[in-house]
């Protein structure tokens, strides 16, 4: 007990020193910390939203929509394959079919002549793609299964695995898109994380306008340029839609519909830039855009072939405007205007167009906003409670254990430094429940010291000499301390594992606090006591 190997002493002093050093940045103003030399620690615990104010959104991806989009793509692939290219340079004959459409989770088509089955299958087999990880899985090779129930019917059904893969991919793509959109707001350190299978967590500290944030990130912003079919909506309703067209609602008037060709001339993915601006003639807000080389070429071709006909600019399935092509648009740039456009609206839209479209729409399932004054109140309250709590516990320990209480208080200081240092290094976010966790740890971590001090008392009462009593007390108390700390760690682990948000932050603090208190009680307190014993050679213990 009295003897400490030199390396142990060095470790204890080093850990104490480092923990104090790494704690420091949290207590100094940011301007001071920034002037530190580069070797000095500068990491602070980032403050949670509840402390600095901000918006927290939990978004859920619409997987149904994702599937629907995919099925639509498959449907047009099937149409293209079966239609062939009878008038092309190398003609491919048309296979007659009927009833092509999406049925719940698959695309169905019926061949007019069941004898065409083999021919059709050869062509349709080109649609499924091998799964990216089929190399390792080896079981299911393709993303789409082709089933032939008989009677000339062919079904193309996306596999479950492919769907999962697509959801993951779409979620990752969405996170990237959202990150670009949020970055455009210019706020510091936004958190954009995947949560579970189909959710995204977005936390923007210091941003207090949840409405703007929501509009900005939950919109798909899928921009397409499509040709308008000459048939009017009324006529199409009466006679049925021509092949390859669909109804699109107008963005200005939800009751009006337009009939557009479903084929996309150019999409938002071909945009290289989009900027808000004002129309030189009307003065109204607009978004000006530029296509990439491929997009510019395609747009030029189509507009050259369709002069005098209208084309539609479609955003998220709604027709923004349908101007007539006056002349071929060759420069690869243009502008979008709409009657409903506002200055904020075009700002948002140009950010969205620049950041790219989301693969599917996102639904907000949880939203929490904390105003800046509540955050400031909470920090202040946390500080006051921590100081009062610490003073109270320190006084209580010194009253109860005298000099040994003072040792415990010193261990407690190192303990707190160790917690803040560890959390700063881990980059763990400090939340109000987290502060409560630290303050509570003060109360709980003294338990180890209390157990030791009580043991010393007991051993003394049983008539042992001062040094023997202290020695035995440390040895014996360790067993109990281990038991109690293990239960504490168990609970902290469960909270972290199963909890979410603030509960997790609290669990981290609690867990780190328990480990730190185990370390300080078994090394720092012990070392302090050993030094005291060595210097004083006491015959009685003031406890």
């Amino acid at each position: 007990m009295l003897y400490f190997a030199p390396w142990k002493i060095a470790t204890i002093i080093l850990v104490s020193f480092l923990s104090l050093l790494f704690t420091m940045p949290n207590f100094l103003p940011k301007s001071v910390v920034e002037q530190f030399p580069s070797w000095a620690p500068q990491k602070r615990m980032p403050l949670g939203l509840d402390l600095q104010g901000g918006s927290h959104l939990l978004l859920q991806m619409n997987t149904q929509e994702l599937l629907a989009n995919w099925l639509n793509t498959i449907e047009s692939d099937v149409r293209r394959e079966l239609r062939g290219d009878p008038s092309g340079a190398r003609p491919v004959e048309r296979i007659p079919y009927t009833g092509l459409g999406v049925a719940s989770d698959a695309v169905r088509v019926t061949l007019r002549n069941p004898a065409d089955m083999d021919k059709a299958m050869t062509r349709l087999k080109r649609i499924p793609q091998p799964l990216s990880n089929s190399l390792f899985g080896g079981t299911s090779g393709n993303d789409i299964e082709i089933i032939t129930p008989g009677g000339g019917v062919i079904e193309l059904r996306p596999t479950q695995q492919a769907l999962t893969e697509r959801t993951t991919g779409a979620l990752d793509a969405s996170i990237e898109t959202i990150r670009r959109r949020v970055d455009a707001l210019g706020t510091t350190e936004p958190v954009i994380q995947r949560q579970g299978r189909d959710r995204i967590l977005v936390q923007v500290p210091g941003f207090n306008d949840p409405q703007t944030l929501k509009e900005l990130i939950s919109k798909t912003a899928r921009l397409t340029f499509q040709l308008v079919d000459p048939i009017s909506a009324e006529e199409a309703e009466r006679r049925g839609l021509p092949e390859g067209t669909a109804f699109y609602p107008s963005a200005e008037d939800p009751n009006r519909r337009e009939v557009l060709r479903t084929e996309v001339i150019v999409g938002g993915e071909n945009l290289v830039d989009a900027q808000p601006g004002f129309d030189q003639r009307t003065g109204g807000p607009i978004v000006s855009f530029r296509f990439d080389a491929q997009g510019a070429q395609r747009f030029a071709q189509v507009t050259a072939r369709n002069v005098g006909k209208p084309f539609a600019i479609v955003l998220d399935g709604k027709v923004i405007s349908a101007p007539t092509i006056e002349e071929p648009i060759l420069g690869g740039s243009g502008q979008i205007s709409g009657r409903g456009f506002t200055v904020e609206g075009v700002n948002e839209l140009s950010i969205q167009l620049r950041s790219g479209a989301l693969p599917a729409s996102l639904q907000i399932v949880e939203e929490r906003t904390v105003g800046p004054s509540l955050g400031a109140d909470s920090i202040e309250a946390g500080k006051v409670a921590a100081i009062i709590g610490f003073t109270g516990v320190a006084a209580f320990l010194i009253i109860g254990y005298g000099l040994f209480g003072l040792f415990s208080v010193m261990a407690l200081v190192i303990n707190l430094a160790l917690i803040t240092a560890t959390m700063s290094l881990l980059g763990a976010t400090l939340t109000l429940p987290g502060i409560a966790g630290i303050v509570l740890t003060m109360g709980m971590s003294v338990d180890a010291n209390v157990l030791i001090n009580e043991r010393i008392r007991e051993e003394l009462r049983s008539g042992k000499s001062a040094i023997t009593a202290i020695d035995i007390a440390f040895t014996k108390a360790i067993g109990t301390i281990t038991d109690t700390n293990l239960t504490g760690l168990l609970v902290a682990f469960i909270m972290f594992w199963l909890g979410s948000g603030p509960v997790r932050g609290f669990a981290v603090t609690l867990g780190v606090g328990i480990l730190a208190s185990f370390f300080t009680a078994t090394t720092i307190t012990r070392y302090l006591v050993a030094q005291w014993v060595r210097w004083n050679r006491p015959t009685t213990v003031p406890i």
């Binding site: 105003g371 409670a385 109000l432 409560a436 603030p502 609290f506």
Partner: protein, 391 residues
């Protein structure tokens, strides 16, 4: 060199001998009463579930001057948002508005927030606005129930591993007792039951088990030390020995909790109150419920015989051998306070393992009549002491 100029205050006088186990009938009655009270309270008043678990909207606004609650109530009621709760918190200028989940998906929730904002008009700063959708709140309920269950099962297994099943059962019953009592208070005071309250209950479980484990640890130690002391006396002795520690630790925790309660801000009030109530209750529970229950269940006294239930093996193995050595060495000078407390018969028993020649101790049956079998529910196994030594 005197750093501390006064003598430490000893809160629990040495030699204190409260009898905890003998009053077990009161504890049993109280526990049964508590169960009835919980059922009655939860079925009548119920818990005031927050939006985390029910879905809906919670807004906290701050007015520039003291607010007229009735006026706000009227304004919000006029919006026809269904069930709403409006109350001030903290100060006279801060108002919390809770609105039940609106039918019509998440867009409807957003609309509700906007409506309230508009209805209140200018002069109100929005401190906080939380909207939780139905899908998320269902998951949070499920997650919380799973977390609480896993925590309880984990602790049961842990205590079983480190001690015996009787200890495990006593610990779990004590834990349930704590949680039920806390729920009763939460229901009575209609505290907003949200995620942080669940975190508080989990923390409480950790803390309460801590308390119980410290006591169990001492009981186990004394079981080895005083092989023939009747169980009720042994448990009482163990509790009294750890009473001073209980007071010091409980005191420290309560000091910090009280500081947090009064100065830690409104946001964590429910959280801290839950802990405060739970901590106070858990101190009572370890002493007056867990200990008597352990007595009623009985404990095997033959620590160390390997050939009994297979479940015991890990506990024996997990125990550090140095523990034994220390026990044997220091049991010799029996503390005077113990002499005063225990009966002559058990004193004799207490000194039995203190034989200076371990390993040569004559086997127990010779002295068997000395122990009163009627008093100790778990019969002692002959040869227990001997086989322990041989390990």
């Amino acid at each position: 060199m005197r750093l501390i100029p006064f003598k430490p205050v000893v809160f629990v006088k040495p030699g204190t001998r409260f009898s905890f186990v003998t009053h077990y009938k009161i504890a049993v009655a109280e526990t049964l009463l508590l169960i009835v009270a919980t059922i009655v309270l939860l079925s009548t008043l119920g818990l005031n579930f927050g939006i985390d678990f029910r879905g809906g909207t919670l807004m906290e606004v701050r007015a520039s001057s003291a607010v007229d609650i009735a006026d706000i109530r009227q304004k919000v009621a006029a919006l026809g948002l269904g069930e709403t709760q409006i109350q001030t918190f903290g100060s006279a200028t801060d108002v919390a508005i809770k609105v039940a989940e609106q039918p019509g998906g998440d867009a409807a929730q957003q609309a509700a927030v906007a409506k309230i904002r508009d209805a209140l008009g200018p002069g109100f700063e929005v401190l906080r606005a939380d909207v939780v959708g139905g899908t998320v709140s269902d998951e949070l309920v499920r997650g919380s129930i799973i977390a609480l269950t896993v925590a309880a099962v984990g602790i049961f297994l842990f205590v079983w591993l480190r001690f015996e099943w009787q200890f495990s059962v006593a610990a779990i019953v004590a834990l349930l007792h704590d949680v039920l009592a806390t729920l009763c208070v939460l229901s009575l005071l209609q505290i907003d039951f949200d995620l942080t309250v669940v975190a508080a209950i989990l923390t409480l479980i950790g803390y309460a088990v801590n308390d119980t484990v410290v006591m169990f640890d001492r009981i186990r130690e004394n079981l080895r030390k005083f092989k023939r002391m009747p169980l009720d006396q042994l448990i009482d002795l163990s509790i009294n020995e750890t009473l001073s520690r209980t007071v010091m630790t409980l005191g420290s925790v309560l000091i910090t909790l009280v500081a947090l309660f009064f100065f830690g801000g409104q946001v964590i009030h429910g959280f801290i109150l839950t802990l405060l109530v739970g901590t106070a209750v858990s101190a009572y529970t370890s002493l007056f419920v867990a200990a008597p229950l352990l007595y009623l269940l009985g404990v095997k006294r033959d620590w160390g015989t390997a050939a009994t239930a297979p479940g015991r093996k890990p506990s024996a193995a997990a125990r550090p051998e140095t523990d034994d050595a220390a026990n044997d060495a220091d049991a010799e000078p029996t503390p005077p306070s113990v002499v005063a407390a225990v009966s002559a018969a058990s004193l004799q028993a207490a000194q039995a393992p203190a034989n200076p020649l371990p390993g040569k101790t004559p086997s127990a049956p010779a002295r068997r009549p000395a122990a009163d079998p009627a008093k100790s529910p778990a019969s002692k196994r002959p040869g227990a002491a001997k086989s322990r030594r041989k390990r």
